[in-house]
Amino acid sequence: MNKQDTTYLDQLEAEAIFILREVAGQFERPALLFSGGKDSITLVRLAEKAFRPGKFPFPLVHIDTGHNFPETISFRDEMIVRIGEKLIVGHVQDSIDQGKVIEQKGKNASRNALQTVTLLDTIAEGKFDACIGGARRDEEKARAKERIFSVRDEFGQWDPKRQRPELWNIFNGKIHPGENVRVFPISNWTELDVWNYIRREKIELPSIYFAHQRDVITRNGQLMAAADCLNMDAEDKIERKNVRFRTVGDMTCTAAVESDADQIDDIIEEIKRSKISERGARMDDKVSEAAMEDRKKGGYF
C-alpha cells in the first residue's frame, strides 16, 4: 500500500471524532475506558483532535486487575501527566477485598472475568451514563453486530436482540436512569487500520508491543510472560525469547508471539503476513465458540 494514500484513514478518523463529539453532546457524565492498549491509546489521540484546545469532557477510567504488565501502568501514568486529563482507577483487588468476587485458584486462574464486577461498580460509583471503549467490529464475530451506541441495562448486560437500529449518522443516546451506553468510535477500524494510523500519527505505545527479550513459559500452546500471577510451578519451563504482544490485557490471559518486529513498519508488515488474527492470541476467547457473546451479555467491555 502506498503510505501517502490514506484517504480511508481520514474518513475513519473523521467518523471517530464525530462519534466522540456526539458523546460529549448527548450525555451528562461520560467516561473513556482506558486499558493501556493500542486501541484506547488511539482513542485518546482522537479525543485530543475532537476537543482541543479544550479539556476532554470526560475522565479516563482504567480497570486495573493488579496483573497488568508493569510497562502498561508506567505508560499510563506518564501519558496522563502529558495530556493533563483526569484518571480514575478501579482496582480488582478492592473487589476481592470487599468479598464481591472470589479469586480463582490453580494454574489457569485469571482475574480477567473478575474485572467485569469492578468495572460495573466503577461505572455505578462515577454515575457514568456513557462509557467510550476501543472495541472494533473486526475483532470477533459477536462484535461484528454491536452498535456504535450500545445500550446496557442496569445490570450492565448487552441484549443483542434489543439493539437499536442505527441509521445514517444519527445515534440515539436516550436512556433510562440506571442504564448506560457503551460507545465504540473505532467500530469500523480493522487492526491494520489502527496500526497504520498509529504510524501516521506517530502515536507512542507501551514497549511490550515491540519485540523484546522476555522470560516466557508455554501454557496451553501459547507463550505467556513469566510472572508470579501465573502461579508457576516446576512444570513451567522458563525460556528467554524474543517476543512481542499483539494486545495488552491481563498478564494471565494475554499471549505473546515470537517476533523480531521492534519497529512499527516491521509490525505492520508482520500483521499483513500474519496467520493468526488478533484475538487468536487471547486465551479468554478460546473457551467456546460463543465465548465473546456470553461475556458481552454479562457486561464485559
Binding site: F51, W168, S277
Partner: protein, 416 residues
Amino acid sequence: MDLLKFFTAGSVDDGKSTLIGRLLYDSESILADQLEALQQSNRKNDDGTIDLAILTDGLKAEREQGITIDVAYKYFQTERRKFIIADTPGHIQYTRNMVTGASNSDLAIILVDARNGVVEQTVRHSFLVSLLELKHVVVCINKMDMLDYSENAFNAIREAYAEIAQKLQLKEVTYIPVSALKGDNIVNRSQNMPWYDGESLLGHLESIEVNEDKKSAQARMPVQWVIRPQTDELHDYRGYAGRILSGSFRINDKITVLPSGIKSEISKIEINMQEQDVALVGSSVTIHLKDNIDIGRGDILVNSSHEPILSQSIEADLCWMDTKVLDPSIMYLLQHNSKLTKCKIREILYRVNINTLEKVDADSFQLNDIGRVSIRTAEPLAFDLYQENKLNGGAILIDPRTNLTVGSLMFRANAE
C-alpha cells in the same frame, strides 16, 4: 485508497452469506485461525466443502436457527479499495434491518436466485433501495451453476428486472451472473460463462466511482459541541465543532445559522488542531465565526447562498421499526442530526404494500410498515429533501416511553 460501503439484500436461500463468505475467502481476507475455526465447525456443504456462510453468521441464536437476524458488519480490503459490508437479512420481518444497512451504504447488491428469477422479495428489496436513494445497484444473478450457466436464463432475468428498475427509477443498475458457491464471477472472471464480458463482482466494486455522489452545493454543518476552553490565554476562543454533512466551507464564506437565521462569516477553520482554508464534506472540523453569536448543539451552519428548508410541517416517508405500533396520539421525539425535538404524526397519508408497491389506506403502522406521513415538530427543522441530500434529509423517531428508535423518516416535501 478510499472506502466503499455496500450492503447485500437477499434471503438465506439466495446464498447471500455464501456470497459474502466467498468475497472474503477468495480475496484472502480470512485469517488462519478463523479458517481453522471454520474447518472445525460441524457445518459443511453437501459436497463436504467449507460452508462459507458461517463467516458472517455472528450470534449464537443465528447459528442455531441458520439465519441472519441482524446487521453484521464485515471488513476487507484489496489493493485498490477498502470495503465495509453491511450484511442484512432479507426476510420481510427484517425490513428494518435492511433499511438500517441501506442508510449507511453507497451501493446495494441485490441477490436473485437464477432458478426463481425476479420474485416478490426482489421487488421488496429494490423498493427499499429506491426509498433509501441508493444510486448504485448491482443485481447478482446467483446459482448460475444450477442452470448450466445459461446466457438465456441470465438475459430473461435481466429483462424482467429492468422493468422494476424503471418503475422504481433506479438510476444505475449493473447485472452480473455469478455462482457464490462455486466462485464464478465473484472475485475472478468465470471460465464457465464466456458469453459474459463484464467485470467480476469484486472488479466492479473496486472500480465503481461513488464519490461524485458527495459533491453538493449545499454546505451543511450541524453543531455538535462548542469548544470553549475559558482559560486565560484562550479566553475568547469559541469553536463550533461538527462534521460537514455536505458541500464544503471556506474561510470568509457567508453563512447562516439555523433555525435562528442569524448571518455571519467564517473567520477560521480548524481540522485536527490545524488551521485550513477549506473544509470538505465528511471532515470533522471546528469553525469560528466573525461575530459573537449564541450558537449551541442543535443549530446548523449552512452557506447563505443555498439555505435549506425551515419548517415545522413536513411530509416524509416513514419506516416503522418497533414492535409497539405507531400511536398518532402520542408525542414522539425526533432526532435530526444534532437536533432533538418533539414530534407528532398528524396524518398517515398511505402505506405501501412493499411486495406489490400498491399504496393502501392505513390507520397505523406496525413493525416494518412503510408509507407516507405528515408530521409536525415542536421546533422548526432546517432540512433538505432526502432525495437531494440524504444526511440532512433523514431523521429518526424515538419513543419517549422506551427510548427505542422506532422509526426512520425520509423528508419528501415541506408541508407548510
